[in-house]
């Protein structure tokens, strides 16, 4: 987290922040900007920079995926991940993920993990299926803290991993208001 703060603030100083995004944050936060709000602005600016999105995803999400995958290679595709590209409130985002699989005892989806790049904690939800599930599909509602890329990582019974991602824009972040 500290590394993220240093990187975000240094990029804030060197790069021109898009004016529209800054205006968006001012409207959302009419109170005076405290340090926490500045961090959210700088992290948002960082995630919107086109050159940044082309490179590797944030390290915490990468570590979370690595912990699940271990040494196996991860293929891209095969997972259908439905997540709205523009979300009004990050507090309840309906998501659906599925993998087309016969779900027989020898060929089924073991689990689908949802991993977020910008939430305080990268693991969001992990759904475990069995051949009794009939279909490897589940829907739930998650919280998203900021505009980000969200990954769905599927673990198959034969030990292979497949993943896909969706980029989404959040208008109102979750979990950032005071109680």
């Amino acid at each position: 987290m500290r590394y993220g703060v240093v990187l975000a603030i240094s990029s804030l100083l060197t790069l021109p922040i898009p004016v529209t995004k800054r205006a968006c944050v001012l409207i959302d936060n009419p109170k005076t900007m405290n340090q926490r709000r500045q961090l959210i602005v700088s992290l948002t600016a960082l995630s919107l920079c086109p050159w940044e999105s082309a490179s590797a995803m944030p390290s915490e999400a990468m570590q979370a995926m690595q912990a699940i995958v271990g040494k196996s290679p991860v293929n891209t595709g095969r997972v259908y991940f439905e997540l709205p590209p523009l979300v009004e409130s990050g507090n309840l985002v309906a998501v659906k993920f599925s993998v087309d699989s016969p779900m027989t005892p020898t060929n089924y989806v073991r689990a689908i993990h949802v991993i977020s790049e910008a939430n305080p904690s990268p693991n969001v939800v992990s759904c475990y299926f069995t051949p009794l599930s009939g279909k490897a599909e589940a829907s739930t509602r998650i919280r998203l803290a900021d505009s980000q890329r969200v990954w769905a990582l599927a673990q198959m019974s034969d030990g292979s991993f497949w993943r896909t991602s969706v980029d989404t824009v959040i208008t109102l972040s979750a979990c950032t208001d005071t109680v």
């Binding site: 659906k96 904690s121 992990s126 919280r143 109680v179």
Partner: protein, 99 residues
């Protein structure tokens, strides 16, 4: 979920439980963190066999909702169990007749 099903038919099940899912990342006015209080796991078993399981983390929204699928070959009972922080435990049973 449906009360009856044909043998081998795949049907959907919707479950929702009322729970605030306090993420543990919010602060009160004094700047003190509100402690985490979330449901950690949800398990659905059918006649003792696991059908669907989910590990929930702070990122799951309040009043967690799950829609998933199941296949029944014989009549029996579905058991839904939610377990969470602070010894939270809720169990619900639902019978189904398979023809």
């Amino acid at each position: 979920m449906p009360k009856t099903a044909k043998k081998g038919e795949v049907f959907s099940i919707r479950v929702m439980v009322q729970h605030d899912m306090e993420s543990g990342f919010r602060h009160n006015e004094l700047g003190v963190r509100v402690p985490r209080d979330i449901i950690r796991s949800f398990v659905c078993t059918y006649n003792g066999n696991e059908v669907f399981k989910a590990d929930l983390h702070s990122g799951v929204g309040s009043n967690p909702l799950f829609i998933f699928y199941a296949k029944a070959d014989q009549s029996g009972t579905f058991e839904f169990k939610w377990q969470g922080d602070n010894n939270y435990l809720t169990t619900v049973n639902q019978a189904i007749t398979v023809s």
